[in-house]
Amino acid sequence: MISFLAIFISVILTASAALTMWWMLHAWRTPETLHATRFSAPDGEQRMSFSLLVPARMEENVLAATVTGLLQSTHRDFEILVIVGHDDPGTAAIAAELARDHPDQVRVITDTNPRKNKPKALNTALPHCTGEIVGVFDAEDEVHPLLLEHVDHEFRKTRADVLQGGVQLINFHSSWYSLRNCMEYFFWFRSRLHLHARMGFIPLGGNTVFVRTEVLRENGGWDQDCLAEDCDLGVRLSTRGKKFAVAYDAVLVTREETPGSIKALVKQRTRWNQGFLQVLRKGEWKALPTLRQRLLARFTLTSPFIQAFTGAVIPVGILAGFLLDVPDGVALITFLPLLPTLTMLAFELAGLHEFGGQYGVRVRAGHYAKLIAGLPLYQLILAVAALRSVWRESTGRGDWELTHHVGAHLRLREDT
């Protein structure tokens, strides 16, 4: 009985870990796939107009730099809508100053909802958008001046309704967990999202996401009660058969920073996990047309929990293999889930090397060592966040835990 259970759990975990790995490695499957994940070279024409939404809540530190960065764009037809809360005079003052300096391009939208969150802010601004394309950025984002021009071309080339651009955490040197966090983003935006776009089911990211304004309005904007409004929007638009494009280029990615402490990381991850749970429970994904899409949706939305479970169960399985009196063959099988996990670690090392090359940063031997040594503890953090999100969701705590930004990625840019 114990043997049967051990085999069953081990095989399931191995299969799910191997499948996740396979999806994570999508972009590197063949040189042709990798080539196709990039932005294609723009044709020099600018035909689309953009409304860029920047929700800012308690972001006095970084807002001015972000908006100034956006204003550097080489595209000639865009407006920036900074959304501030009526209860946040500090940020509002900075936004107002920016609008005064750039009256043609920057507007301030005030969100008067009594309880505030990001989807409410975005929905407040949606009626004011005049561009054909709505783009969302966070207040701490560092955006490349050429991005809009490429997005313009990509929209015309692919005839997509939604385009997700790359987002990359950059400050891998800050701490052991920021290194792992950076790698997570690298594999997600560099690789995995392209698979989702191809399969027609995509949990969108929170920023550098571009949607045709009419499509957003037709579909009622963002879900104000969802903690992962970005993921939810992607799922809803997927079920309506909208066309997605994903493009990644190291030069054009939006640069962000990792959470400043492990506590903040746990909070952020809890929010995402809880958001995924909410999207799963809403069940809109069940309307996806094909079984493959529905399976991908179910698997993707539950994967934070499977991942946490795997992290917790692997050591138990190995201990059981050694200590319990099971046949040698069964004991061997309890080790199987370790193989995809270790293989993924090897791919992460390759990924870190490629990351260093693409971003022109020096990755030292110590970073590789940290990436390896940090794996178990990071798994533990993910497991804590997963458990916490389940607890919060089941006890009905749906409030927004804000992540505080200090601008570490901006300093890195100055350093290098």
């Binding site: 499957r29 063949t30 040189p31 042709e32 932005f39 080489t74 280029d249 190291a250 090397h353």
Partner: protein, 510 residues
């Protein structure tokens, strides 16, 4: 706006080149049928059985009966080779139950050979592009007298080289898919788990992978390859660890202990350069069988390092040769099996390089002449040796003995018969108790579990099936020598040194 270079520039991605499909397979199929027929023709009669074949056939029998070995498994080799043999020999056992176990084993090896030859063709095509050099490589790999004499014998090396060629083929696939590169790593570790000595040639697979991968995805290809290789191979020491048999200790076998024995304590076969040593004799016998491929192939390998179409197989050849030439190592008889396909691929690679240069107008007359001369020697030398291989029969005694043991020999409960590995399974199939009733001669004085059941030494033995392998070991095995000395011949098969005698031991305590 101005065009910007967005990422570190990588070479352009070319669409994979696919050969024309029409008539692509016909010549390969015809050649394969011819080669397999040549091996099948004299399968049972030639060459004389080696007792190692018997060991693997017996261990495959054990696998079919739920064990890793017919006696205590002592990590002499990783078990994957005879696990595959157990699977592949099953259809023959089921369809043709009247054949000796040796023949069942050798029929299974025809499958391995067929796959090996197809892989030689595939690797040659992927490395060299032209079909005729691929056919040439395949023909050499199957028709060299060295191949004809050893490739249908039941050796672990045949499995190992098949898997290593599979790794080459996957690493060089024009699709350059990541899963193929992970699978190449797994195939490499299957090769090593079939016969550990092939690990020497692993760097050659890495060269092939380097050639077969695109710069933009190479990091991931390498990571996938090494993960596939290391983690699959690690299951073997892990198995030992779970059984408490990884490290040497009192009263139990161990992986490390056996490895230490094989690397340090086992008597070497001497240097190939010193006449009179076993290694030298072995080299001379290989050279006697096929000087053309050995010398020509080695020359091609040395030159081949410099040209792309031959580089990876040439490196495999040179690595295997360098290790074989070390002064006091252990050179097993079947070592050459690992070399033959890579020698053939090196020759084909050099042939391609020469042709390409000739077409470009700066052909080297010298090399072309050398190739033609070598080819001519091969064409005159091979048929003579080949004809001998195809017509000579050395195994009539074994075949007759096998039949007698299965059909004529009396079986009584508790009867103990010493037999060599080749005939062991035949005896067991005839109803003798495996292990302690039918006793593999090699275990008689070396396995404590067997010794315990023979308190009276040779007096507890009823019969000895005396084959050259049994007689050869008698000097080191006192119980066996005693039984042979106190026995009379019941039946004899064959004549001369190769004869097989069934001997009844005369003084028993019962």
């Amino acid at each position: 706006m101005t065009a910007v270079l967005l990422a570190p520039s990588a070479p352009p991605v070319d669409a994979p080149v696919r050969p024309a499909r029409r008539h692509r397979f016909l010549p390969v199929a015809v050649l394969l049928v011819l080669l397999i027929a040549a091996h099948a023709w004299n399968l049972a009669d030639q060459p004389f059985p080696n007792d190692d074949e018997g060991a693997y056939i017996s261990q495959a029998w054990a696998v079919q009966h739920g064990q890793l070995a017919h006696y205590t498994y002592w990590y002499d080799h990783p078990p994957l080779g005879w696990i595959q043999l157990a699977v592949l020999s099953w259809p023959g056992q089921w369809l043709l139950p009247g054949l000796p176990a040796l023949v069942h084993g050798r029929i299974a090896m025809l499958v391995v050979l067929a796959i090996t030859l197809l892989l030689v063709y595939t690797v040659a095509r992927r490395l060299q592009g032209t079909r005729w050099t691929a056919l040439l490589a395949m023909a050499i790999a199957g028709l060299s007298p060295l191949a004809l004499s050893m490739q249908h014998q039941v050796y672990l090396d045949n499995f190992a080289v098949m898997w290593l060629l599979a790794a080459f083929a996957l690493a060089l696939s024009p699709r350059r898919h990541l899963w193929q590169h992970v699978a190449a790593g797994m195939a490499t570790s299957f090769a090593v788990l079939s016969k550990e000595t092939i690990a020497i040639a692993v760097p050659a697979v890495i060269v092939a992978l380097w050639q077969g991968s695109h710069p933009s995805t190479r990091r991931f290809s390498l990571a996938g390859f090494f993960s596939g290789m290391v983690f699959t191979a690690s299951l073997y020491p892990l198995y030992a660890a779970l059984k408490g048999e990884l490290f040497a200790g009192e009263d139990h076998v161990s992986l490390i202990g056996t490895l230490a024995f094989q690397l340090h304590d086992r008597a070497g076969t001497g240097s190939v350069f010193v006449p009179g040593t076993e290694a030298h004799e072995l080299l001379m016998s290989w050279l006697g069988n096929d000087p053309v491929l050995l010398i020509g192939g080695l020359a091609a390998a040395v030159a081949g390092l410099a040209v792309r179409p031959a580089r990876a197989p040439a490196l495999a050849v040179l690595l295997l040769v360098v290790v074989a030439l070390r002064p006091d190592g252990y050179l097993p008889k079947m070592y050459i099996v690992q070399l033959v396909p890579f020698l053939a691929l090196s020759v084909a690679g050099i042939a391609t390089a020469v042709v390409i240069r000739t077409e470009r107008g700066f052909g080297s007359a010298l090399v072309t002449t050398a190739l033609i001369v070598t080819g001519a020697i091969a064409l005159t030398g091979w048929p003579v040796t080949g004809a001998r291989m195809l017509t000579e029969s050395t195994n009539d005694g074994y075949m007759a003995a096998s039949r007698w043991l299965r059909e004529e020999m009396p079986v009584r409960p508790g009867q103990r018969t010493i037999v060599d590995g080749v005939l062991w399974v035949d005896l067991v199939r005839a109803g003798h108790a495996p292990g302690l009733g039918a006793i593999w001669h090699y275990k008689i004085d070396l396995d404590p579990a067997v010794q315990r059941t023979l308190p009276g030494g040779w007096r507890d033995i009823d019969y000895v099936v005396s084959t050259p392998a049994v007689r050869g070991e008698a000097a080191q095995l006192p119980t066996l020598a005693g039984a042979l000395a106190h026995s009379r011949v019941v039946a004899t098969f064959g004549a001369g040194d190769g004869r097989i005698e069934v001997r009844e031991v005369l003084t028993t305590t019962r």
